[in-house]
Structures are given as C-alpha cells and as structure tokens.
C-alpha cells in the first residue's frame, strides 16, 4: 500500500480530521495512530464516497467524509432549462429508484403551477413509488449483506430486483432511466396484462423475502457484525436530520407518506415499521418490513385502481398526446408554446417533500413566472444521512465502517447532485 502524501489530502481536511488545535501534516509520524484513506474507488462505499479515517490501532477515532466526486451541478442545470426538460435528470439522482424521483419532481412542479392530476394517474404513481421502494430496499439489503461477507444474498435480492426492472420496462419502456411521469400525469397507461404480472410478482415476493431472511436472521456472523454497531440515539437521529429507514431504526415514528400525506396515501392502509435499537441491525429490519408494507400498498392500489384519464386536461400547462399533436391544430399550437416557452407557473416558491426509499426527497422551487425555475434546490436524503457517518463510526472498528455505510444505504448520485 502506498503511503498518503501531502498532495493527496488537503490541509483543511487534515485539520478537520485531527481537530482545530493540532498543527500536523500527513507525513508526520503519529504515536499509535494512522490515517487511512477509504475510497473514492472502493466497492464497499456504495459509489464514489471517500472517507478519511483516523485510527488508533483498529479503532476509529475520527472520520471525515469527502463528497463531490459525482457532482454534476444539477441545481445549476435546472435553472437553465424548462420544467419539462428536467424530468430525465431526476432519474439520475437516486439511480436505484428513478420512478420515485420522477414522481417527487412532478408533484413539486404541479404544486407550484396548481395542476390537478387525475386520480388514476396518481394511483399509478403510487404504485411506481412503492415498486421502486421494493427494488431499492432489495439492493440495500443485498449490498449490506455483501458488505459483511454474505455474498449469496446479494445475488438473490438482485434477482428479485431484476423482475421489478423488467416491469418498469413493460410499463414505460425503460429499465433504469424511466422518466415515467409528465407534468400533469404519467406517460403511459397501465395494461391489463401488466397488472396481472405485477400482482404475480407481489404474490411471489413474500417467498423470496423468507428465503433471504432464512439466510440472514439466524446467521450468527451477520447478526454479530450488525448488532450494537453504529448506534445513533433518538435525539441524535433527529438532530442530524436523518430521514427514512435510518431515522425509523432509531425509534422515531415519522413517515411523510402518513404525516404529510401526498398522492392518495391516506386511502391505503399500511404500517410504519419502527425499531428502537438505533443500530445497523434495526435499520436492516426496518427495510425488510418496509418491503412487505410496500407490497401491501401495491396490492391495494391495483385493487382500487380507478378508471379514467392519465393526463390532466389543462392545455396551457400539460403537454398534449403525440397523436393529437399530429392531427389537431389546437394541440399543435399548445405543444409549440409549451415546448418553446414553458409552463410559466405564477411567481412564488414551494417546497414539496416525498418519502423516498432513502429518506425525505424534497424539491424547493422558486419561480419568477418564467418558463424555467429561478432556483431549484434538491434536498437529497443521502447527502444528509451521510453527515451522520462520523458520529456513527466513532469508537467502532474499521470493519464496522463498511457495515455502517451499508446500513445507511447512501446513493452518491443523489448526495453529490
């Protein structure tokens, strides 16, 4: 292993690692301590997350995360493109659950522009959100198990996730970058055959979850690597702004789907799983329970799915269908105006947050009445959750760090924007 030199680590980062009162460079010898550079290219850090660890033997004394390796400047780009054009970019935020991001963004713009969306479209959106939650949590559980040494589970959960991706493919024509929502509805309607296929997947999901649990829940190595590791207390979890499964693993009963209801989550029944230990194992249990609750929601949505339109009838703000553009004059004009001049929502600002698989994804949009947002801020859950890693890792071993990262399940596409 090559030794770290001064060029690898900026002096300010060293300062953050060692505390403000020390004057020290990387080359200096420490008595019992060493500085370990983890990432950005490391399979266990879930993307390009770089951690600098200050170690005493194998114990972590301090940890400084470094972000920005995947920074693409989405907030800047959003200010320079129309509201409709930004939808494909939301796919690339949390790339493990693109439909959920699409829905979050569409809801934000609709709130700003005051567009009423038909109920069928909202129900389909709900279903897509829950399917993406299932897919994302399956990866999270599999990757967590892989991080602590159980490789088989990863293959099994990814096999299940693959089925969800195949369904995305049938529903909207793309496996990863779905771009499924439009402002005012969804791009395509659900077919009857798709509904049957989704229901079949949901029915079989329980069996594969049990398979996974049989491998993990009584696996002594898995339990011992996660139990009482990375503990964060109830108060600290709120103070650090954690959201999603990481927050509910610390005993905080908070879920935006229930507490700040959007779409039609008030019409379906589901429980919010809460565990009180605050360790990595609790966060794993929360995810497993959430997969089951999501499956329940999908079943209810498919049962109750109302008939009707999938796009709002609001020609000044909602794109017309392609077939109509080619055959009708009015629609052609509206399409031209919308594509060239944009939606032009009223002057004002809104914040719309949804419960994504990773936590609270929020969009804060400031409008000056133009076709593009004056400002668009993405409140990404992974970014805020990563902030608590130094607190969680303090006092644990190096090998626990990977387990802690896996249990928080950050996605760098979202954290780095």
């Amino acid at each position: 292993m090559e030794k770290l030199t001064k060029n690898d680590v900026h002096p300010k980062i060293v300062q953050a690692l060692l505390g403000a009162d020390t004057t020290f460079t990387v080359e200096d010898a420490l008595d019992n301590e060493m500085i370990l550079n983890m990432g950005p290219q490391h399979p266990a850090t879930h993307g390009v997350l770089r951690l600098l660890l200050r170690l005493d033997g194998e114990t972590v004394i301090a940890c400084v995360p470094e972000l920005g390796y995947l920074h693409r400047g989405y907030e800047k780009m959003a200010e320079n493109m129309g509201y409709l054009d930004f939808i494909p970019h939301t796919d690339r935020l949390d790339y493990l659950s693109p439909p959920a991001n699409n829905v979050a963004y569409a809801l934000a713009v609709e709130k700003l522009a005051g567009i009423e969306v038909p109920k069928r479209a909202q129900y389909i959106r709900m279903m897509m959100c829950e399917l993406s939650r299932i897919a994302s949590h399956l990866v999270a559980v599999g990757a967590l198990a892989m991080d602590v040494g159980a490789l088989t589970v990863f293959l099994w959960t990814l096999r299940e996730r693959e089925k969800v991706l195949d369904m995305y493919d049938v529903i909207c024509g793309a496996r990863f970058t779905t771009s499924y929502t439009r402002i005012g509805g969804v791009a395509q309607d659900l077919q009857k055959s798709t509904i049957i296929e989704i229901q079949k997947f949901i029915d079989e999901l329980e069996k594969s979850l049990e398979e996974v649990e049989r491998l993990l829940n009584s696996n002594r190595i898995f339990i011992e690597r996660l139990e009482d590791i990375g503990v964060i207390s109830y108060d600290d979890a709120i103070d650090f702004g954690l959201t999603g499964p990481s927050l509910r693993g610390s005993g905080v009963d908070f879920d935006l789907r229930r507490d700040a209801s959007y779409l039609y989550y008030n019409e379906v029944e589901f429980k919010v799983p809460v565990y009180y230990e605050g360790d990595c194992l609790a966060r794993y249990f929360v995810r497993m329970d959430e997969i089951r609750e999501s499956a329940k929601i999908v079943t209810q949505v498919l049962d109750k799915l109302p008939s009707g339109e999938i796009m709002a009838n609001n020609p000044k703000k909602v794109l017309p269908r392609k077939t109509e553009i080619y055959t009708k004059m009015e629609e052609l004009i509206h399409d031209f105006m919308l594509v060239n001049f944009g939606i032009n929502p009223p002057v004002g600002d809104i914040y719309q947050a949804v419960e994504n698989p990773k936590g609270e994804l929020g969009f804060y949009i400031v409008s000056k009445g133009e076709g593009h947002p004056w400002k668009l801020k993405i409140r990404s859950p992974s970014f805020v959750n990563i902030q608590s890693i130094p607190h969680m890792t303090k006092g644990y071993m190096v090998s626990d760090v990977v387990a802690i990262i896996g249990s928080i399940d950050p996605v760098m596409g979202e954290a780095d924007k």
């Binding site: 709130k111 809104i350 400002k375 970014f383 902030q387 924007k417």
Partner: protein, 162 residues
C-alpha cells in the same frame, strides 16, 4: 386554532418588538424576518414546548442577482409533534455577505451550510468547519451564483498531475 396562527401568536408574545412578515402560498407557510434575529427565533422555535421544530430539513439560499441584499437564506423546519412544516427566510446583508450559523442549534445544519457556502459564497459566522462541500478547495468561484456561466469557466478546475 390553526397552527399557523399559533406559531405567529407564540412568536409575537415572545418577541413583541420584532417585525415578522408572513406569506402563505399554496399551503406553504413562510415567515420572514431580519437576520439579526435569526438565532433567537430558531432557538425559540426549537425549544418551545408547543412548537418543537426539532427537525431542520433543509437550508439553502436564493441569489436574486440584481437586488440590494442579493442573497436570501431559506430554512425549512418540521415539527414532528405537530406535523407541520415552516419556512423561514432572511436576507443576507450585502456589505458582509455573512450570516450567523445555526449549526449550534441543529447539527444537520453543519453540512447544509457548507453546501451553501460552497455554492453561493455566503460566510457563516461561528461555523465549526466551514469548508467547501462539493468543489475542490482550490476552486475560486461559487457556481450557483447567477454570474457563473452554465458552461463553467475553462481552466478553473486543473486536472491532477500524472
């Protein structure tokens, strides 16, 4: 009583001399005040038994480009007890481009303010660790300011030496 009125009533009874502007757009409730009062108000909102805004969801800034006091700070708070979201706004003084840090009140503000510092160049007073969040430390510009071009500035990000 509406919770919005309750927030205002509590703030008015605690700080009778303070000037508060409220707006309500599409159900989002927002309070605007002078930057000098920021820490007092935040501390009160967090610790008051009836309000309990324990979760600081988001901190960001807006660049208005051509206005005196061009930057506005925006805070989103959530009260888990009352299931209510509140937005706070305060203008940043042009002459100093700096504002008090709220990271002593909510620890999550630490990184969020670092991001604002990185993107807008607003200085946070009494911040424990004010470094850039995304851009490298040597970078001279603040990308989300309106005068920064979308294309970027050629040569502003040197490639690492081989």
């Amino acid at each position: 009583m509406d919770f919005k009125e309750k927030v205002i009533q509590q703030l008015n009874s605690q700080f009778p001399e303070m000037k508060l502007e409220t707006t309500d757009f599409r159900g989002d409730f927002c309070i605007k005040f002078s930057p000098d009062n920021l820490l007092m108000i935040c501390e009160f909102l967090k610790n008051n038994d009836q309000l309990k805004f324990l979760l600081c969801e988001d901190i960001t800034a807006i660049d208005w480009a051509s206005r005196t006091n061009r930057f506005t700070m925006v805070y989103h708070l959530f009260s888990l007890k009352n299931k209510f979201r509140l937005r706070l706004k305060t203008d940043v003084d042009d002459s100093t481009t700096s504002i008090e840090s709220v990271s002593s009140i909510w620890r999550t503000a630490n990184w969020q303010e670092r991001e604002v510092y990185d993107m807008y160049g607003i200085n946070f007073l009494n911040h424990p660790d004010l470094r850039r969040m995304y851009m490298p430390e040597e970078f001279e510009y603040h990308p989300l300011r309106k005068e920064f071009p979308v294309m970027g500035i050629p040569g502003s990000l040197p490639l690492p030496k081989k």
